[in-house]
Symmetry: C2
Subunit: 216 residues, 2 copies
């Protein structure tokens, strides 16, 4: 569905970034309890009635950084979290997709944009919310983009027009910083990193981002 | 836990690579049914009693390619699937981890090995089983490795000793092929790709791998 817009309520629970509570077995409906399964080392939600083990694993949020000449396409969010803030088109990868396919789909949904996908550009772990965010470089094929259902407006920004204090998510902020730094060197790399606690934020604008290091 | 060993039963159901059946709401225990939630475009397992939406998303399998001089450390699997076949130390990323942290942990669990992690080397989507496999280059810090609980034995292989027809998983096979190809050029890249259906396999040895394109 529609990108980071949906980080609060997709691949997640209905109203927040958390999964629905794990009280009952999805297979048989009996109550589950926390046990360390044989051969495992962590407590898992186990159904003693039918033996099912319910694992919880991190999710991938995937999108693109669409270029047109020297400008970058950003989406202004029409929903919480970060209503009114600017983001790249992205959202939860779905079962049955490849990572690149998810980036194309999310860009089509958020920005109704046609792109040619380039190389994977950033991969950022966000362990405190059990997510990994992946952004590809991309080239807009035309200017016939339009706001999807979870987007207020779209705009192309040159480097000096980027609304740094109005970026919706820290992973997007860092990806854009890397992008313009790489562009100045003339060589685009692949950037893997981890977003930790606020004391690890990189610069003053990063620290000012309002409440966005917690996406939940 | 213990690497690809656990692909059959972790981040998954008890007995296979599938999730436990989705019949009941984990939050309230009521029966769930398939509906397309408002603002969504795909059917999801929805609880009409409490409103919870149960999303299913792809999982990350993460590991390392540990080097010692010109040799590579492989693990022979002590469990199904692919019992007795050779693999790199890897397994499901856990909640609360960064991707690199998961690679270190899996290498410690599978091979009881201490490594210095290098750059992310391969990222391979496996959409038919809803997984993304990520392998980092790594340097063994010493030779005090030993088989973990799901490993029969460990061995260092030179390029011409690699048991190509006895590799457990296609993602491992491709990662090793990329590694030796890059090593010959003297420059290691980052390899992102998709494993599709058997007609997309790359070479004869790839095609001969017994049943491993389906990890489930």
């Amino acid at each position: 569905m529609r990108g980071m817009a949906s980080m609060a309520n997709r691949g997640c629970g209905k109203l927040g970034a958390m999964n629905p509570a794990m009280n009952f077995c999805s297979a048989c409906g009996a109550a589950v309890s926390l046990h360390i399964p044989a051969g495992d080392s962590r407590p898992r939600h186990v159904c003693l009635a039918c033996g099912a083990i319910h694992y919880l694993n991190p999710r991938l949020v995937v999108g693109s950084l669409p270029e047109w000449d020297e400008k970058i396409l950003l989406c202004r969010r029409a929903i919480e979290p970060a209503f009114g803030k600017w983001t790249l088109p992205a959202g939860f990868m779905e079962n049955g997709e490849a990572v690149a396919t998810a980036a194309l789909r999310e860009t089509a949904e958020e920005a109704l944009a046609r792109i040619e996908l380039g190389a994977m550009f950033s991969l950022i772990s966000v362990p405190h919310i059990d997510q990994v965010h992946v952004i590809y470089r991309a080239r807009l094929l035309d200017l016939d983009f339009a706001a999807g259902a979870e987007t207020l407006e779209l705009r192309l920004f040159g480097e000096h027009e980027i609304p740094w204090d109005e970026i919706a998510f820290r992973t997007v902020y860092r990806t854009l910083r890397h992008y313009f730094a790489d562009r100045r060197t003339g060589r685009f790399g692949f950037h893997e990193e981890v977003i930790g606690t606020p004391d690890t934020f990189q610069d003053e604008a990063d620290k000012r981002l309002p409440g966005t290091w917690l996406l939940s």
